[in-house]
Amino acid sequence: MSTLSYEASKKRVFFGLGLLAAVTLVEVFVSLLGKGHVIKGAEDYSLVIYTAGIIIIVLSLYKAYFIIFEFMHMKYEVKGLALSVLLPTALLIWAIIAFFQEGDSWKNRREQIKAKDAQPAEKLSEPQGMLPSDTYIPENWL
């Protein structure tokens, strides 16, 4: 399947090992930098935290790309196969945005929900959820 010779693909594999290990080390370093382990006090700046986060996410996506296309040989498969596996994962972009926004909304409404929970329940004079008594109901309705 592979278009590379045996020797060349063997080399490529050990290059991949070095690459993934190096990227992982950089990720851990950037993560610790963002948490203030490398430079004391760096974690007080939200710019540092966000930049570190974005760098880590991009590097992880690169690692994922490398594993799928090199180690799992997606690069050498027919385009239709690659698309049929990869395109559905685009749905996750929508899921991530929707659920994270929802999670953020839970946080913002936490106090509101607590306050509502603490309110005494209103006494209701009439039964709720029924049709108003003057609603016209045709005789042959049932």
Binding site: S2, G53, A64, G80, A95
Partner: protein, 287 residues
């Protein structure tokens, strides 16, 4: 034995001829490999569901334990070594992924001994990873008392200083009190004799006093379920690797003469386990 072999080979030939009769193959790949890809796609959605739930709950919580505080212990009495142990675990998976690629390459060359050799190295890597995970879980459950429903890792919302020490004794007059910043993490210890949680009291900058609160409950459940689900994938991967390595060693795939396709299929699965770890590592340990 000779007759059995002949029958097997004959059936195999028939299958080869009849497996696809729809003209030109659009994906130029065997049924088994294509279905492995689609299984992995569905599995990716399962993991994505778990990880997105983690993200949504983390976003919904005003505080969250800082990972480099939670995961800072390693075997042999190493403490305050943030993320070092999980980085080692990541390396184990990456290395075992590489040895798996080598096994697949040797399979393409129909080199039986090469396949078995590199598969054994892959199995060792997988077992090493599982061992590390067992240690990590043992430490979190046994030493730090984190469970599915209890999360002793809390985070401060305000700046302040503690009124008592780790053992619950109030600071004496004139003694320097320990201070903390908003966003810093703490671990609520458990008294070994009484089994009581030792929640330290503090005074905040604005003068209000309080006790250390337990962290978001979801943290423990999410951690054990997601790393457990991944660990179970690693475990089943190791089981399948052992079976296929034994089949390869017995010479079963030599007869099939299809470039050790079974090894290629378990290889796809094994790389996927490594791929998922990239994202588990990202959300649980790095961010």
């Amino acid at each position: 034995m000779a007759t059995v072999d002949t029958v097997l080979e004959h059936e195999h030939d028939v299958q080869q001829g009849d497996a696809w009769d729809g003209g030109k193959e659009p994906f130029k790949v065997s049924y088994g490999k294509l279905m492995m890809w689609y299984f992995l796609l569905s599995d990716a959605f399962t993991f994505a569901g778990f990880l997105i739930a983690y993200g949504a709950l983390r976003f919904s919580s005003p505080t969250w334990p800082v990972p480099d505080f939670v995961f800072s212990t390693a075997p042999f009495g190493i403490h305050h070594a943030p993320l070092i142990f999980v980085t080692f675990m990541s390396f184990l998976l990456i290395i075992s992924s590489v040895t798996m690629v080598r096994a697949v390459q040797e399979g393409h060359r129909e080199n039986k001994n090469g396949v078995v050799f590199w598969m054994i190295l892959t199995i060792i890597g997988g077992l090493g990873f599982l061992g590390c995970q067992a240690w990590e879980w043992t430490n979190l459950i046994g030493t730090e008392h984190m469970t599915v429903s209890t999360n002793p890792f809390g985070t401060h919302l305000v700046n302040g200083e503690y009124l008592d020490d780790d053992h619950g004794h109030s600071y004496k007059d004139g003694e320097a009190r320990e201070t903390f910043k908003a966003g810093s993490s703490y671990l609520i210890h458990k008294d070994h004799d009484t089994g009581q949680w030792l929640q330290r009291r503090y005074i905040a900058e604005d003068g209000t006093t309080g006790v250390q609160a337990f962290g978001p409950k979801a943290f423990g459940g999410l951690f054990f379920f997601i790393t457990g689900f991944h660990g179970f994938h690693v475990f089943s991967g190791v089981v399948f690797l052992i079976i296929i390595a034994m089949n390869a060693a017995s010479g079963l795939y030599v007869k099939r003469r299809n470039g050790y396709e079974m090894v290629e299929k378990i290889g796809l699965y094994w790389h996927f386990v490594d791929l998922v770890w990239v994202f588990v590592f990202l959300v649980f340990y790095l961010l």
